[in-house]
Symmetry: C2
Subunit: 217 residues, 2 copies
DNA sequence: TAGAATCTAGAATCTATATTCTAACCGCCG
DNA sequence: CGGCGGTTAGAATATAGATTCTAGATTCTA
């Protein structure tokens, strides 16, 4: 979808669709394993068993390739979340449950995509398309998360359950990014808590907040 | 300090110290205003009214320059925090006060350094020196923040006041990074709360947590 | 103040990467 | 089959940016 913005013809033959797919996979894997810096056209081509000519025939330029990767990754994550949300048993769900569930779902959905998101954010600073796509995704994720929390927040009797849910969602987002950042920096900060514990604490924080959203003076 | 790791002679003459200083300032300003991508040796040289030869005589290579910038920025931030902490009137300080104070101090100290930190993190992924320096700084900041919270957390009667303070500090850190990320992405996310409001909410969250750190089932 | 040490300028060089171009290859339709 | 688009390969080109080199300028020291 994104790559059509450039004057690149849609593939007509299967083999072409194949190479396009292989290129996308290789590009994604490359960023995941070595970070955005390592995404060179030559390396992508090498890993995808295609040629530089093919890459340009399919994507027009490197930027378009990156956009396509972003599109694919974000869609996958959203789908994964939706999928897991569909499985929730809403009836037997306390507030605490829903918070923990939210965190689990979030983590599963974007497992391993750390570097990808990093790349999108950093380059979003100079690439409007990347940025816009990133916005869309963040908003979508936030909405999905609100969906998870809304019912129990409502039951608890919040004045504005949605607003509360949104704050909680951002909190989760923020903490995740902090965590990602630390792990990106090459392994967790020495002396910091292990991930599971961190999640547990975060859950505590959010639960505490949802149970008591009014300013505490 | 960092630049001595390379075989670069310390300046003997004043003018040399001057150009070193101008180069550092220019490099920092450049990253601040245009992001790390814009940090080219040529541009630094242009903005600092020096020459490429001077830059290499002083820093050895571009990496060392970046390390030096990091050192300077992080030291400045730590000093600023320490400085503000020294002014706190500990006697008249409620828990809520100390949390708000923490957030203010944090914000003041790193005001405008968003892109710099972004650059350090991203490049820390491939540069061990940058990473190590970043760790040191994060730990230092966390300790300073704990210092701010500890007294009131203690008075509230926490079982483990320091642990609670540490969680709160991380939370603040996380939220700040989330905020930075959004602003880096080119202006706040449409529909998101204005910064002050965000700070207020964050304060609420942390206060709620500090008053009730035990898991709420 | 002469000579040595230090420092600066900036042209020239080197390198890594994106991108273009062209010849050959493949698969489908007559 | 024949040939015509669609597709691929990879050598050649273009370019941005880091780094080296050296002549000349400045400051220090005796």
């Amino acid at each position: 979808m994104a790559e059509t913005l450039h004057e690149v013809k849609e593939p007509r033959q299967q083999r072409s669709r194949d190479s396009q797919e292989r290129i996308l996979k290789a590009a994604e894997a490359l960023i995941k394993s070595k970070g955005f810096e390592a995404l060179t056209t030559a390396e992508v081509v090498r890993r995808s068993n295609t040629s530089i000519g093919t890459l340009y025939a399919r994507f027009g330029d490197k930027t378009a390739l990156l956009h396509a990767v972003q599109d694919r990754v974000q869609s996958r994550e959203e789908a994964c979340m939706r999928n897991q949300i569909a499985k929730i048993d809403w009836d037997a769900l306390t507030l605490a449950d829903s918070v923990r569930r939210l965190l689990e779902i979030k983590q599963t959905a974007c497992d391993g995509d750390d570097r990808l998101f990093e790349a999108f954010v950093v380059h979003g600073a100079t690439d409007p398309v990347l940025r816009a796509q990133g916005y869309r995704h963040k908003a979508a994720v936030e909405n999905l998360e609100v969906e998870i929390l809304l019912k129990s927040a409502d039951e608890i009797g919040h004045a504005d359950p949605e607003a509360a849910a949104r704050v909680a969602s951002r909190l989760a987002q923020a903490a995740q990014e902090e965590y990602v950042q630390r792990s990106l920096a090459g392994g967790p900060l020495p002396g910091s808590a292990p991930p599971e514990l961190l999640l547990e604490r975060l859950a505590d924080v959010i639960i505490a907040y949802l149970k008591n959203p009014a300013p505490v003076a």
